[in-house]
C-alpha cells in the first residue's frame, strides 16, 4: 500500500500543518468562517429534528386530532415489537444499500476503465454513460416501470421474448422486485461512481504507468498493481457518498412498486413515508425517522472509522 500512502497528501500536509497553522493562526477570521454554515445547518436541519423527536413521543394521527396526546415510548415500542414491516424494512434497507452501493461501484469502475482509454468516440461514450445520473429520478422510475420493465409492452421483455429461446417474459417488478429496484438504482448511481473513479484514475501520473510498462507489466497487472491501490481511496469516497444518498432514495419505490409486493421493496425511509404521509401517523413516522437517524449515525461512524484506518495506510 505504499502507493496509496504516498499519494495521500493530507497526511503530509497535516504533518507540516502545525507550524503552518501556527503562522496563519494569527488570522482569527479564518477559523470562524465555518460558523455561518454550521449555524445555517443547525437552524434548518436541527430545529425540525428536535420537533421530530418531540412528535415521536406523541400519539398523533393528523386525521384524529382529538386523540393526540403524550405517548411516551409507545411509538418506538410499536415499531420494535409489533410491526413486522419494520423488521422487513431494516433487512431490505441493508440489502438494497449494500447491493446497490457495491454494484454501482463495480459497474462504475468498469465504466471508468472503459472510457479511460483512447478510442474513437470516447467523449460520446462517456456522455452516454453519464446521462442516467442526470435524469430526474421520478422520470427515470416511470420510464423503467412503464417502458422498460412492463411485462406486456416493456422493451426488456420484448427483447427477451424475441431473442431468447423459450420466450421468457418475466414479471420483473412482481416476481423480482428487489433485483429490479437495485438494478435501477445501480443504473442511476454507477455514473456517479464512474465520475469519482475516473477522477481518481486520471490523477495517476503517467510516469508511474510508463514505469511499470517498461518493466513489462500486462494490462491486468497494471490495473491490479497501480490502478486499484490508487483507487481505493476514491472507492471509499464513492461508497460513503453512495450510502448516504442511496439510503434516501424513495422516488423509485414510490413510483415503481409502492414498496411491494407485500413489503418486499419497503426500505426504512419508504416506511417512514407510508406511515407518516400515507397513514397520516405523525407520531409513528417521527419515531421511525429518529430510529433511521440513529442507525445511520452508527453505520456511517463505523464506515468512517474503517475508512480512516485504511487511509492511515493499514
Amino acid at each position: 500500500m505504499a502507493v496509496a500512502q504516498s499519494r495521500v497528501r493530507p497526511a503530509a500536509g497535516r504533518q507540516a500543518g502545525p507550524s503552518l497553522l501556527h503562522r496563519l493562526g494569527h488570522q482569527p477570521l479564518g477559523r470562524l468562517l465555518v460558523l455561518p454554515a454550521i449555524i445555517y445547518a443547525v437552524i434548518v436541519t436541527q430545529a425540525p429534528f428536535i420537533l421530530t423527536i418531540w412528535y415521536s413521543l406523541q400519539r398523533w394521527n393528523l386525521q384524529r386530532p382529538e386523540r393526540r396526546g403524550f405517548a411516551g415510548l409507545d411509538n418506538y415500542r410499536t415499531l420494535l415489537t409489533r410491526d413486522p414491516s419494520f423488521r422487513e424494512a431494516i433487512l431490505n434497507t441493508f440489502l438494497f444499500v449494500v447491493g446497490a452501493v457495491l454494484l454501482s461501484l463495480l459497474l462504475g469502475l468498469f465504466y471508468a476503465e472503459l472510457v479511460n482509454r483512447k478510442f474513437p468516440g470516447r467523449g460520446i461514450v462517456r456522455t452516454l454513460l453519464i446521462t442516467p445520473f442526470l435524469i430526474m429520478p421520478v422520470a427515470a422510475a416511470l420510464t423503467w416501470k412503464n417502458m422498460m420493465l412492463n411485462p406486456i409492452y416493456g422493451v426488456v421483455n420484448w427483447v427477451a421474448r424475441t431473442a431468447l429461446p423459450g420466450n421468457p417474459s418475466p414479471n420483473w417488478l412482481g416476481h423480482f422486485p428487489e433485483p429490479s429496484i437495485v438494478g435501477v438504482l445501480v443504473w442511476r448511481w454507477a455514473p456517479f461512481m464512474m465520475l469519482i473513479l475516473l477522477a481518481g484514475m486520471q490523477s495517476i501520473s503517467e510516469e508511474v504507468r510508463e514505469a511499470v510498462r517498461v518493466d513489462g507489466a500486462t494490462a491486468w497487472q497494471e490495473f491490479r498493481d497501480i490502478t486499484m491501490p490508487h483507487l481505493s481511496r476514491f472507492m471509499q469516497l464513492g461508497g460513503l457518498l453512495g450510502t448516504v444518498f442511496i439510503v434516501q432514495e424513495v422516488d423509485p419505490l414510490y413510483m415503481m412498486t409502492k414498496g411491494g409486493p407485500g413489503n418486499a421493496t419497503t426500505t426504512l425511509p419508504y416506511l417512514v413515508y407510508r406511515k407518516a404521509i400515507e397513514g397520516s401517523n405523525v407520531g409513528l413516522g417521527a419515531a421511525l425517522g429518529v430510529i433511521v437517524v440513529l442507525l445511520s449515525i452508527v453505520v456511517i461512524t463505523l464506515l468512517l472509522r474503517a475508512l480512516d484506518r485504511m487511509m492511515r495506510g493499514v
Binding site: T127, I152, G174, K258, P261, G262, R274, G279, S280
Partner: protein
Amino acid sequence: MSRRSFTITAVLMVLVPLLTAIAGRGALAQDATPGASPMASPGASPMASPAALEPDPSISGTIDVGMVGNPQMVALQGLLPEFNRLYPNVTVNMTVLPENEIRQTITQDITNQSGQFDVVTIGPFEVPLWAEQGWLEEVGEEAAADPNYAFDDIFPSMLAGLTYEEGVYALPFYGESGMTFYRKDLFEAAGLEMPERPTWDQIAEFGAALHDPDNGVYGVCLRGLPGWGEQAAIVTTMINAFGGRWYDEDFNAQLEDEDSAAAIRFYVDTLRQYGPPGVEQNGFTETETLFVQGRCAQWYDATSAAELITSPQENPEYADQVGFAFSPSKKLPTGNWLWSWNFAMASNSDAKDAGTAFMKWATSRNYIQTVVAEEGGWGRAPTGSRASVYQDPSYLAIASGFADIVIDSINEANPNEPTEEPVPYTGGQFVRIPEFTSLGNDASQEWAAALVGDQSVDDAISAANELANQVAIDAGYQE
C-alpha cells in the same frame, strides 16, 4: 468527431424538435378548443347555449383551489375565463396535481389548518370525517336555496356520502359507481353472452373461456396496484358483494370470515388464472390502457371509464366493440361502489363568498352545458352527479349504450349500508375510518404479494385480518 462538434450536434438534435414543438404551440393557441376532446364527434349536436347569467361584481376575493388533475378538472381550469366573466372581482389560483400528490397536499393543509387552500377537491371518504372535525364549511344550505343551482338535480345517493349530521359539506363535481365492461366481438366469437347483470361466477367462467395469453388477450382485468383507492377499492366492493365485511359491529376484523375470505380468494385466484401479467402494477390508468389495447375480455371498474373507452380517439380500434353490464353480483346484487370528486370549502377560508360562488359555478348544471359547448362534446364534461345529464339528448347520443346502467348503478348503490351484515362503518369501496388510508394500503400490499405468489392467499388474508385488528385496537375502536 471532436467533442465540441459532438456537443453542438447533441444540443441541436434535442433543441430542434423542441423548438418546433414550442413553435407549434402558437398554432394550437389559435385553435378554439385546446385539447379538443375526443368526443367532438358528429353525433354531438350543438348544445343549447347556457342560460345567460348576469355578471355579479358584488362578490370579491382571492381563492386558492387545490384540484386533482383528472381530465374533467383540467377542462374546468381552461374555463376559468368564463368564471371570471361572471365574477370579475374574484381571483382564482389553482394547484393541480395527480391524485396521490394532491391528496397528500390537501390532507396536510386541512388537518394542520394551515389555510393554503380555500376550496379543495376531496372524495366522499374524507368529507364526513373532516366535517366532524369542523374543518369543512357547510355548503348545502346555500346551494339548496339557490333556484338557479338546481340542488334537487344531484343524485341523492351522491349527497348521502357528503352529509354529516344533516349538513352537506361538499358539492359533487362528477360521480361514479362500478360496472362491467367487456368486448362484444370476443364474446360473440366464443358464442358467449354477457347477461345485463352478471354474477362473479359467470365472470370467472367467461374469463376461463376467453383467456388467451398466447394471443395477448386476458380473461379478466381488475386493478391490482396496492393502494386504498386502487386495488383495495375493487376488493372492498367484492367483499361487500360476496356478503363479507371488514369489521363486525364491535370492530373485530372479519376478513377471515367465510364470505370475506371467499371474496379475496376469488379475486386473487381469478387474476392469477385469467388476469394479465404484472396485474399488481396496474391501477385504473394502466388497466384502461390494457383494455383499449384490446388486451382485456372483461373489466370491472368505475362507470366513468365508459365515456373514455367508447371514444374513438381514446380507443381507436375497439370503441365499437365495448359492451356494458352491471357490476357483478354474488350474495348482494351490488358491491355498493359510489365515488365522487367534490368541491369542499375549508372552514378557515377567508374568502367564503368567493369560494361558494366558485363551487356552485363548477358543480352547476350551467357549467356542464358550458363545458360541452366550449369543447364541442362530452369528453371532459362532469357526469354521474346530476340526473338531468341522463335526460340530455346530446349526452344520450353518445352514451346510449351505458347511460341506463350508470344511472341505475348510482341509484342502487347504498354506501351507508354497504354490507349484508351490519357494520360500524360506512362507505362502499372504502371503510370510512381515518386509519383506512393506511390499512387499505397495507392490506392490499398483502394481497399483491399473494397475486405474485410470494405468499399463499390464506396467509395474505390472515395477515390483512391481523392488520385490521391492530388498527382497530391502536385507534381505540376495539376494546
